[in-house]
Amino acid sequence: MSNREFVIPVGPQHPALKEPESFLFTVDGEVVVDVEPRIGYNHRGIEKAMESRNYIQNLYITERVCGICSNAHQTAYTGAVEEVGGIEIPERAKYIRVFMQELERIHSHLLWLGVAAHEIGFDTMFYYVWRDREIVMDLLEEVSGNRCNYAMPTIGGVRRDLPKDKYPKWHKMLDTLAERTNYYIKVASTEKTILDRAVGVGYLGKEDMIRLSGSGPNARCSGVPCDIRKLSPYLIYDEIPFEHIVVDNGDVLGQVLVRVLEVIESVKICKWVLDNIPEGEITVKFNPLQRLPEGEAVYLVEAQRGELIHYTISDGRNMPYRHKIRAPTMGNIPSLVERLKGGYIADIPIVLAGIDPCFSCTDRMAFYDEGKAKAWTWTEGELSKYRKEWYSK
């Protein structure tokens, strides 16, 4: 390090990332020379905890690995466990899992788009996008009862069915989303406020991206076709017609484009699922005390932020011997570090946010009664009273 260079710590409490991460920036004037990441501020020992709980209890842990990707984690976890146990899930359950996964992708990508607009100081777009995101949040709430942590997949199927009479309404909501997203595609590719802050910022080429094993929109914006849904299809993704979105911009604009174009594809997939979903059971029985045969399984899922892997080893008990999870953000850090090098200090927030930050969003509790069609909220005291009455019945 020459005497012209300074070291600036960014984080662990960083506004752009939910996962607290620390980055040590070495800067020469305005230019970033080197970056050193340090993670683990949010290390909760989940993999160790999973070794001492049974497969059903672990459902709840995997869901809480991340607030935004909760459904992706559960899809991967249940998939891996079912593969070890040789459990065949009903067709309808596969469709519902895909439906949830794509709704989650829409909500996550729109959330990211809003955050990215905020990071480059374009707050008008931030408010617009987050207003429109409420459509998909309402849809998720109608399907599962929750805005995040949907608790939909379970071992052997899914926990809730999609009521048929809602399909026309959901089609309409999805149409509105597609219409609004098309507008954002137009804005993102023509609006000078965005282009000035996004073109050429945080550039990384295709060779470097392959070398650093990036995944998800972060890699697809650099021209690497790496969508697991296409490469190694799981559930029913090999039957669904959708585009493999890859652009070769390699910069922040590419990341914006990949994500908005993927929202359009996800809307298409959701509509296809609603049109083609077969009738039938949604779950097969799985007993929490049931022992799985010895074996292992690798399950890859294309989560919103990239490739997600769950690797489970069973030694014949009713709990995993070892369960390994690698979330996409970890895989994208080496390429993020390359993206930051050579850039300006002012571009750090948007490039950091570029691989997709994550916000914990639920701080309210609402109840929705389908019969009465009204929503209300409860305080902690009322909730505790309800609990006591419920359990004393």
Binding site: G40, K48, S213, L231, L300, M330, I333
Partner: protein, 166 residues
Amino acid sequence: MSLEEHAKVVEDLVKEFGDENVYNTKVPRVYRAFAHVNREKFREVVEYLKEKHGFTHITTISGVDMGDSYEIVYHLRGDGFSFSLKVPVPKDDPKVPSIVDILNGAVLYEREVNDLLGVFPEGHPDPKRLILAYDWPEDVHPLRKEWDIQKIRERVDGKRWGKDVE
């Protein structure tokens, strides 16, 4: 790609390195394969897979405590084909050769395994602590089976969890 093509890749690997170096292979379904690889030959195997069969992507590295030995599982991926290479490591010599110079993406995963399982990546450019706190005891590796939550608590905080804590 089909199951036969995937099985062929695995067969080719066994033929190239011999069944004393690549063994216990299985191809449970399309897009998935597992194999045990000797530690001495491991770097050559990774290089061969990268050059000959296009396994340029590393998904992650899992460290597993198998009771009498450790097993480091490298999940490589070429297109959609996920190939898991397991490297057995004896408990009295917990080291693996680093593959960061072959697959740059492994740089953080090797540090993670070193933290949580205590298997040192020899030849890693910067094998610093990544996940555990800086003041975490050097000899406590949480994913080793001899450490359960009570023992970790006693060792790290000097007290037990549960009923006897006020």
